[in-house]
Amino acid sequence: MKELSLNILDIAQNSIHAEARLVRILITESDETLKLEIMDDGKGMSEEFLNRVTDPFSTTRTTRKVGMGLPLLKLAAEQTGGSMSVTSRERALYPETHGTEVTAVFYKKHLDFTPLGDVISTVVSLVQGSPEVDFLFVHELGEKRVELDTRDIREVLGDVPLSSPDVLVWIRESLIEQYGYSE
């Protein structure tokens, strides 16, 4: 992946497939590190599956037997001297607290650090593809905090879908404004 934001888009799709109702994407940056957390309230994974989830030859997909999402994120983190971990509680055993958390830490000054890239397009793409799922996106860069919570947006919109083009434009512009980019 050319941008970390593409890994984020890819990993968040796993949460959506796991029937998550809320996906939280948290990015916390300091001068030295970037921490990425993707947390969902989906159906979780069994302990057995969790143990082989970063193996590229394990997947839930039935069409073929190779899943590359988590191995690619792990590689991207480890090649900077960082790491990735996954915790999960499956719905059958944890009816109240099921879900999965993926945490990856990157060292930004390492030569092999993949830049975050266009994370705004990642958020917009997620909402476009899964307007019924809620997303909380928080990006902390030192003092700066960028936040988007689709639960707030949904409350205002009522039954208008979040994937409506005007809403997607609003989300994009809201994030651009918060990042302080000028277009």
Binding site: L6, L9, G67, M68, G69, T122, S125, V160, L168, S174
Partner: protein
Amino acid sequence: MKSLEELKAIRERMQNKVILREGGAEKRIVVGMATCGIAAGARPVLNTFVEEIANRGLTGSVEVSQTGCIGMCRFEPIVEVFEGEQRVTYVHVDPAKAKEIVEKHIVGGEPIVEYTVGSAEK
């Protein structure tokens, strides 16, 4: 901060349109957004389709959606256009081709044969 007032205005505008949309879209654009598609550049392709459809006022009649891996990873980004019984599969799509597909196929009604999987496999 973008105001929630603007969102309320969007809601007012959209509530009328939602009724129109219940007839269902005539055309469907489906973009492959699995790991293979994303790595090959599907995200800007998806966003180009979303913008083009919105800008041309086609929101009610054309639906843009996402799908997973269909097992032809070497051809990603893959885009399928559905219209009635007809399905056209475009391969190696980039934002420029996406714009052209909207203009010639979605609006003009003529599929672009040279971008289809049939041409790529020859």
